[in-house]
């Protein structure tokens, strides 16, 4: 059993448009059997936060290509991407590169 985790989510670059135009969300992830990886978080966001058109944010189990993910201001590609285990009070940032030019 993994304990629940408090994290801050930030959406920018247009990604916030999918989340009621709110850029910062403080959330509490409930305790669950396995540890909270970014993959679990994405599924949780899809099921609990995305009201409509999840395909604009997700593609399969991961983010749509063109959406950048940072954990505490570091590129998730340095951290194992979907397998990264979320730590309490992490700030996870999603930036769309797909909006405007």
């Amino acid at each position: 059993m993994a304990a629940g985790v408090d994290v801050s989510l930030e959406f920018s670059g247009g990604a916030e448009l999918l989340f009621d135009r709110v850029k910062k969300h403080d959330i509490s992830l409930p305790s669950q059997d396995k540890s909270w990886t970014l993959q679990c978080l994405l599924a949780w966001i899809r099921d609990n936060m995305l009201k409509e058109r999840p395909e604009l944010f997700m593609q399969g189990q991961t983010v749509r290509p063109g959406i950048l993910v940072l954990v505490n201001d570091a590129d998730w590609e340095l951290l194992g991407e979907l397998d990264y285990v979320i730590q309490p009070n992490d700030t996870i940032t999603f930036i769309s590169t797909l909006h405007g030019g």
């Binding site: 340095l78 590169t97 909006h99």
Partner: protein, 279 residues
Amino acid sequence: MPANCSLCDGRAVLKRPKTGDTLCRECFYYAFEEEVHKTILDANLFTSGESVAIGASGGKDSTVLAYVMKLLNDRYNYGLKLVLLSVDEGITGYRDDSLETVKRNQNQYDLPLKIVSYEELYGWTMDAIVKQIGLKNNCTFCGVFRRQALDRGAMLLKVDKIVTGHNADDVAETVIMNVLRGDIGRLRRCTAITTGTEGALPRCKPFKYTYEKEIVMYAYFKKLDYFSTECIYSPNAYRGFARSFIKRSGKNSTQCNHRYHSFRREPLCQKGSEDASSG
């Protein structure tokens, strides 16, 4: 824990799409800026004393371009007179908001700003056009008009050149679209770093080799102020397809965009038009 920087002992903040290098913030800024500088030098884009208009939409690419052009002009004494040039298509709820961003950039970067509007140049706004013709083909019209408006604005400012924020991903997308359309003429021209039709000013793309991910990361870390909403009249479906194709294939190959670019080695200052989304 995140990896260390490939160049110093700092904490890496990003993995470069082009090389796979892991870099800290400072080394990333340096690498990013120096690559744009090298692109400018290698292609002989500018001559000291020239006036250059930066096509500024308020979006990420042109905002970062304005910032970096100003920085490199100061750091390397290019001797350029820089000015921001924006086109107001007359799209309520989109361009009016993005122009507010450009107006803030004018102060933040201490660069003069000129706005030309469809209304003053042509006597109507895109809002009025869409009311007349609906949403079919409106982007095609708007693209042609914007291109011309940028030229007219640049002529009014008496500048020598226009720079736009088109990046490596944009160029790769345009290559794919021209392949899909079978447009050999455009395919030949669209990777040129400088383009310009007869009688129009040369247009250059200093970000031709710069990846979108790095432009967005640069803007994010530097907290640059940009506007990010899709045009209310633009479904952008065709480009959207090419775009997600590039992004997916980019996942599999770090230098993927470079392969699309090297479809053709381009001579500099090639005459011809480009297929362009606004930078």
